[in-house]
Symmetry: C2
Subunit: 753 residues, 2 copies
């Protein structure tokens, strides 16, 4: 591959001069907004001030109260009612709005039974009782009981084994103790991974059923006072949720990679690879306690013990349980609300901004707290439009349906409109649940500088400093040594868990995920008690952080829509990719050292000698030594990326700082067109090993973490899983990917020459 | 100070040649015992084989059953009965045995009341019920109820504050939350420090009373199945124990530094500085739970939360409690059993070997499991003596009384016989509770090589490898990277918690503390359930580890008694002191970095900004920066120590390996006399800051840890407590101390010239 990296951007002014942005000797204006000239910054600030002015916490409260008055899961009557109502709202604000329907497989439970047969009998309640302090907790009409969507149908009976969080490392611990889950039912606590990993790994290890429960240690009285006295999960609160194998691919399990339109070809359900193979049922700790109390066998390792007042044992048995589950496997219409404003200057460049609108039960925090912020953003922009203002680029607001079961609404829409999105989208901006606290910023590192700029310009409602300052303080106090040093706060790489996944990881669109949180108090997640009453007592009582989110996400939307040059900066990308590479190199080194050490201990019989002979202990087997890996191609690519990114960033900053007049539309489009494809260059059409749907080479949800991100996933997971043959292939692919992006940055720089 | 360090030990053979140990070109005998020539090693091995042969687990079982049939606290009738019986036993084995009596202040409870007055009323039970499975649990005669010895008398009433472990760092956390314990009663969980620290620090912070309880997280069902099903502490089990301020000085509070003989001068009780100033009462978690449930205020920090099924709150209140305590402050006779064999060759060199014989209740594990091992050692040695064998040095066996209240028996004896002990003792070998598992070796580092040699020669009863091998395996598995590399396993420096303290830290005698443990399962500690039934189910059912302890401690005794050259080696001492110095330097650096970081965060207002404004938060105040400290004098001293130690070790090893005939008694005594004073040179008569009783400059119990050791305590604690003025003084004192010892080593080396 030939790259023009040896050429320096001799005159970064050329393009901007050509397009009329350049004024002689304009001083660097520190108050300029990223991507804007000093002059257009001033105009933008005026728009933003008027935008802020129009925001009303009262709207958020009223809308939430209406939306969460009845259950809003996909297919529920109130889900459709609120979708229609949202369309009307958007239209009343001046948007072209409509519902886009996809027909998706959505199982709902018909039979849910769990009983302990021995040593005592216990029939699990599997229900969340009404509370006087929560007005919607007693709703029974159109309510979904606690269940795990995409569990298998079936009836199984077996002894229980406690598997902690149910991740692969936990099964290694069981193996050391001679405990095998084959033919058993596992009971796993929530936490430590996304829930779908637990039954997947249980099945891989031979279990025939799985019970998931919320231990009060992770999610209950150990954390704080329980509902309704406090925010935290009480004895009967259950975490519902999907167990579809989303790390393989999210969205409709029957239409992988394409939109689930009415006439789309569908897989046979029995062949859909992402549907769980064993029955899985979530329970409260109230239902789990009798089961755990009845277990024998070895005492669980210290790190496995929860906060129930009992000694945690591993089993197997003597607790023996029966699970019976049957679902209606219905094809259900999912309705995305899609509302558009046509851009005044670049209508074919789209800013896409979404939040899901379905919830498992009432869905106040998740997702309505974010959805009402999005609506208020849209309303305020509508108010700007009433004064004749128009965004330069097109804006698409979306209220996704059916996020909870498997990111269905967003994924099907993204798959269905894939070509258009790759052609037109300049960013996808996601929000979801929101509550009181600190700004959360995740996304493409090319947007790090931009979103930091936004965070500097929004005031924290509680402290009066910027949300940037407050987050920086929190990070510094938590021990992040660079927080007070580095100009920008790092943003988190994205794994999965909300609707950004199809846009970022499947299509390669520059994406952001934004929220506030950390002070709201958890405990209502995916339960009947995620209600207006809970949220307005513990989440964000004054909806001040809803308004703050509207300021952050709305500003982001408006800046992406109006920027002269799209505000991607690649220095942050290069800096973070370098760190990820260092992490992976360290991972390999540590794995090598650990393997050597463990093999040596095995050889010295040390594990056996250190074990208590009165207990079963099976020492580990020696592992293949970790080979030395060739990181050079990726290192070289990252070095080029670093250089190209620095040159682009310097060139564009200089050009913008010097410009003061409006650009020529054609020149601007030419640079911007090139820029917004750079994130797509970070994908590889072949996707990741074992999961071709995931195409991004920098960010992916972990195959065995589910939500938790794996950066540089191709090489990182190959090393973690000791698939040494895979490493060189993935290494080469990653290097090529990074080089493509670096080359595109150089070309963009040259455009300014 | 002038030291002869420039002289190299040109011919290490001289002394040994002079005393007849040297044979030409004798090859290094790897099987030689440390301190013995090859020939005397062979004889010693023969003695040890006969010694092992005579040991009987059955004796240990029978003696324990008799001793723990009734309570054995100091002053109890059965305590005296068993003392008399032990004297008879020792006499029957050929020892000169007698009781040595000291009259010590020993408070026992007259009134113990604890009740919650609001928000609900609860009267604490403060008793441990009888269990059908434990034959002595129902004993009521001459039984001491749960209490903390040396608590103040008094009646106090106040709101409760939960203070976690009640150590200084915990009060800083409370301060951050605006919580003040002045005028309050604190409730602290056991753990994190020795128990006496908790009321001491509570008092320093202004509290007027303290409740100590056993949280099931640290000591109960969280750890394992509870008694009688399992070994662990059950709902009503209470940890009794002393709260005398032993880090100031242990022993009789009324006779600091001298023996509490009948006619000794005594302090007025009200002036005794070590007696606690506020009422303190220990309770079970069964009694603590209603109190903790009734508390409000902020939720406790995550690390403070125990395993009770409740949300831990800090208070203050609304729980309001009243404590009333009254004690009989009786002067009580404590009877040490002291049994002696006169050494055949060096009767004025004493090997002192002790274990305490009093317990809080039945005292099966603590201390009888160790005491019966000691008795069996003595009996077996007695059997050797029946064949005409005699130890070369004198052996003193001791059964200390009144260890539990404050190391009373051993301390008063050590203080009383201080001059003789400093003149004659070559070692103090301590044991205490013992159970199944791994060898524990603590003590003077000059004995590290010797005790490692013993550990290599004793077989682990469960695995058949040496107890050295098994311990090494356990350390390697736990991640101790040097365990498989270093020739000797490091031994632990000693803090406090058993009877070695007066010998090591007050007198400067080379000391060891030995035990097995780690697989026995805890939970009976200082409760009524530390019984024969508990011990024989969970401690060491077959008394195999009791016999193993007798083999280890007996071998140690015999080798110290018979060695040609006393088996001190100083390379291990130098190596460990170097490590401690590195630790302290790192401590200062980390404190400096942390102070800088915290001051910077304070200046940036980061703590305040990171805090939840809906909760009280008081940011810390800036601290004086940590000055750069002059470690050079100590470093130089350690470098000399390292050199002198290496030269001595090499010289003596070479000399012994080459020798094959008996030494001349006079020459031997001359070298040994010098050697055994080296540990005493590590003391400083002025003692440690604020506690002159503690004279050892290398090892001390922490002023704020109580049992936990602080090595190089003078400089370490001055730095920890930010007493910068103290540092240079302590640094100089430590350097001088180390130089004295190094010089003595050089002189010993020269004796072999």
């Amino acid at each position: 591959m030939k790259t023009p990296l040896s050429r320096r951007p001799a005159g970064a002014f050329a393009l901007l001069a050509a397009i009329g942005l350049l004024a002689a000797a304009a001083p660097q204006a520190p108050e300029s907004i990223l991507g804007f000239t000093p002059e257009s910054s001033a105009a933008q600030r005026d728009v933003e001030a008027r935008y802020d002015q129009a925001l009303s916490a009262e709207n958020l409260r009223n809308w939430m109260e209406y939306i969460v008055s009845k259950p809003i899961y996909v297919g529920s009557p109130h889900n459709k009612e609120t979708a229609d109502w949202m369309v009307e709202q958007f239209r009343s604000w001046g948007y072209e709005a409509e519902l886009e329907r996809y027909d998706v497989l959505f199982p709902t439970p018909r039979i849910r039974e769990l009983e302990m047969l021995s040593p005592r009998s216990y029939k699990a309640q599997l229900r969340e009782p009404a509370l006087a302090e929560d007005r919607t907790s007693g709703i029974t009409e159109n309510r979904l009981p606690p269940y795990n969507a995409y569990s298998a149908d079936g009836e199984v009976e077996a002894e229980l084994v406690y598997v902690n969080y149910g991740i692969p490392a936990d099964y290694e611990e069981l193996e050391r103790r001679g405990i095998d889950v084959r033919g058993k039912i596992v009971i796993a606590r929530y936490g430590g991974s996304w829930r779908g990993i637990k039954p997947k790994v249980a099945h891989e290890n031979g279990a025939i059923g799985a019970i998931l429960y919320s231990d009060p240690r992770d999610d209950g009285y150990y954390q704080g006072d329980t509902y309704p006295e406090g925010a935290f999960r009480q004895e009967h609160g259950v975490q519902r949720g999907s167990v579809l194998d989303m790390p393989q691919y999210p969205g409709d399990p029957l239409t992988p990679g394409y939109g689930a339109t009415q006439d789309a070809e569908r897989l046979d359900r029995m062949e859909a690879p992402t549907i769980m193979k064993i029955p899985v049922l979530p329970v409260s700790w109230g239902d789990a306690k009798p089961l755990l109390e009845a277990m024998g066998g070895p005492v669980a390792p210290a790190a496995w013990r929860g906060a129930l007042p009992l000694t945690y044992h591993l089993g197997p048995g003597p607790a023996r349980v029966r699970i019976k589950l049957e679902f209606d496997w219905t094809i259900t219409p999912a309705y995305n609300v899609v509302a558009k404003i046509r851009g005044a200057e670049f209508p074919d460049e789209w800013v896409v901004r979404g939040n899901h609108r379905d919830g498992w039960a009432m869905g106040a925090a998740d997702p309505t707290s974010g959805m009402v912020a999005l609506m208020e953003e849209a309303r305020s922009i509508g108010q700007l439009m009433e004064t004749g203002w128009r965004p330069r680029r097109s804006i698409v607001y979306a209220g996704w349906d059916a996020e909870e079961p498997a990111l269905l609404g967003s994924t099907e829409w993204a798959e269905h409109h894939a070509a258009d999105l790759k052609e037109h989208a300049v960013v996808y901006i996601n929000t979801d649940g929101n509550n009181r606290g600190f700004l959360g910023m995740g996304g493409s590192h090319s947007l790090e500088a931009m979103i930091n700029g936004v965070a500097r310009d929004v005031t924290d409602p509680q402290t009066g400093v910027s949300v940037f300052e407050r987050l920086r303080a929190a990070r510094a106090v938590r021990g992040d040594s660079e927080a007070l040093e580095r100009a920008d706060l790092r943003i988190s790489p994205l794994g999965s868990g909300s609707d950004y996944t199809p846009f970022l990881q499947h299509l390669g669109l520059p994406s952001l995920n934004l929220n506030f949180g950390g002070e709201g108090g958890g405990g209502s997640y995916h339960s009947q008690y995620d209600s207006f009453d809970h949220y307005t007592r513990f989440g964000d009582p004054g909806f001040e952080y809803g308004v703050a989110l509207a300021k952050v996400a709305g500003r982001t939307t408006l800046r992406m829509a109006n920027a002269d040059v799209l505000p991607y900066r690649f220095g942050g990308l290069a800096d973070n990719v370098k760190r990820y590479l260092e992490e992976v190199e360290k991972l390999a080194e540590e794995l090598r050292r650990r393997t050597e050490r463990e093999n040596r201990l095995i050889e010295a019989d040390a594990y056996q000698l250190a074990a208590d002979p009165t207990r079963t202990y099976v020492p580990p087997e020696a592992k293949e030594p970790v080979p030395y890996l060739n990181f050079a191609p990726v290192r070289n690519a990252v070095a080029l990326l670093d250089k190209a990114a620095g040159e682009y960033d310097a060139a564009v900053a200089q050009a913008l700082a010097s410009g003061d007049a409006g650009p020529s539309q054609a020149a601007m489009e030419s640079l911007n067109n090139r820029l917004r494809r750079i994130e797509q260059l970070l994908t590889d059409e072949r996707g990741l090993p074992k999961r071709p749907w995931f195409k991004h080479q920098i960010y992916a949800p972990g195959f065995y973490t589910g939500y938790g991100v794996k950066t540089l996933p191709g090489i990182r997971e190959a090393i973690e899983q000791r698939e040494w043959d895979l490493v060189p292939v993935q290494m080469e692919r990653l290097a090529a990917t990074i080089l493509r992006a670096a080359t595109a940055m150089e070309e963009a720089t040259l455009l300014m020459d």
